[in-house]
């Protein structure tokens, strides 16, 4: 299980660009150094865009619940899926303090 803490910060990895053509429902994450590229859906794009804006994890959950009108359990489930994939593929990175409190369920 991915361990993400309440105050842990997520950030875009170096060399990552996210791009979207909302009118066509096309969203992507790109590594401009090694050329890796990933197709995203609108939700994943929103999450990465929010992380890229420097939002903390608690803030991300709160904003996600409002943006997609879901409760906290569904927000955590959705975010877990996106963040796990993004971490695994080095689209984002954790900038964490191990002493911070863990987020329940994540």
């Amino acid at each position: 299980m991915l361990e993400v803490t309440n105050k842990r910060q997520l950030a875009m990895s170096d060399n990552i660009l996210i791009q979207g053509i909302p009118e066509l429902d096309h969203f992507y994450a790109f590594n401009v150094k090694d050329g890796d590229h990933f197709k995203l859906n609108r939700t994943a794009y929103w999450v990465l865009e929010t992380i890229g804006a420097g939002r903390g994890f608690e803030d991300l959950i709160t904003r996600y619940m409002v943006e997609f009108e879901v409760d906290i359990n569904n927000a955590r489930k959705d975010l877990h899926e996106v963040i796990l994939f993004a971490l695994k593929n080095k689209i984002i990175r954790e900038v964490s303090d191990e002493k911070e409190k863990k987020v329940p369920g994540l």
Partner: protein, 342 residues
């Protein structure tokens, strides 16, 4: 939620590079989109490094490369031309390449050297009419005979030749006769390009075809194509789709932003040679940063950014007009193609 992307930005399995090795030219054609201004040229090591960048990008994108080597006049850089061709010949990333030249440096010896290159598909030369009078009024005295000579030398060496014509008011009526001539000369393919008011061609803006003139010309060429043309006519250009929207061999989307890039002699990259907007330098940035990050390319990719006429056109998926023609006539590269007759 998220999946790995098998590249679907490009619609085709091919990716096209147009690579200008020099801006220098021994001609001064009146309609040229270049000004032949001096531009830094690269040493062979840097040029080969650009091929490395191409291979890296093609491999990552799962594409096969096609390439045009051109200038200016590319044979002015004969010092590096064959070495680049050797390098590409040995690559598994490319399907073929062409050379776009004015033909003036083609000798029997040069043709023999060219014939030995594995991935050389065609040599393209230009003729502006079926007569020396028409052609030479644009390309310079003697150039008609010089080009016909080059065609014959290349043909005799077994190298397929393509001919390109930039159509304007001064030569549109000669196109059928030119097609006949090219058939007799054993030319493999013929393509039309439109005069764009850029570079030296900006002085010929009064020669640009009106929409109905272009329409008539495209209809004429299409009729020749489907009625046994003596030379294969390449009709995959924007606006041709308006002539025969149900014929898949006719018309094409502009490749700028979709499946092509132009590289200039100093490694500057443009979306298209006719849309000279610098979007990076391949040696400094690499293709990934340019392809993924250029705001110009992202604007071009989104048809919603097109002007209303193009955006709402029922041929949006087949045409979208020429962005360079829009740019050089209106200042807005997403404006409507001013030669569209629809």
């Amino acid at each position: 939620m998220v999946t790995s992307l098998i590249p679907d930005i490009s619609l085709e399995d091919e990716f096209y590079f147009q690579w200008h090795l020099t801006e220098r030219c021994n001609k001064a054609c009146k309609h040229c989109y270049q000004q032949a201004n001096p531009m830094k040229e690269l040493a062979l090591a840097d040029l080969l490094a650009i091929v490395d960048h191409m291979e890296e990008a093609l491999s990552k994108w799962g594409k096969k490369g096609t390439l045009s080597l051109t200038g200016g006049e590319p044979f002015i850089r004969r010092d590096v031309l064959h070495a680049i061709m050797d390098r590409i010949d040995s690559s598994s990333s490319f399907i073929y390449y062409d050379i776009l030249t004015n033909g003036s440096f083609i000798t029997p010896e040069e043709a023999q050297a060219l014939a030995g290159h594995r991935l050389l598909r065609r040599i393209q030369v230009s003729l502006e009419g079926a007569t020396a009078k028409t052609n030479d009024s644009i390309r310079g005295v003697g150039s008609f005979d010089e080009t016909i000579s080059a065609i014959r030398i290349l043909r005799d060496a077994g190298i397929p030749v393509s001919v390109m014509t930039t159509v304007s008011k001064s030569n549109k009526d000669e196109v059928p006769a030119l097609i006949d001539l090219l058939g007799k000369e054993g030319v493999a393919t013929f393509a039309l390009e439109r005069l764009i008011p850029e570079g030296r061609g900006a002085d010929l803006s009064d020669q640009i075809l009106a929409p109905e003139e272009l329409h008539d010309l495209y209809e004429t060429v299409y009729r020749i194509a489907i009625n046994g043309s003596p030379v294969r006519l390449l009709l995959y250009r924007p606006l041709f789709a308006l002539v025969a929207p149900n014929d898949p061999s006719v018309g094409a989307l502009c490749s700028a932003g979709n499946n092509a890039l132009t590289i200039m002699p100093d490694a500057t990259v443009f979306p298209c040679r006719r849309l000279p907007m610098p979007i990076g330098n391949v040696l400094e940035d690499g293709f990934f940063k340019i392809w993924y990050g250029s705001e110009v390319l992202w604007k071009l990719r989104n048809p919603k950014n097109l002007c209303r006429k193009c955006r709402e056109c029922d041929l949006l998926t087949q045409c979208r007009g020429c962005r360079a023609m829009a740019y050089f006539t209106t200042g807005d590269y997403m404006a409507e193609d001013p030669q569209c007759w629809k």
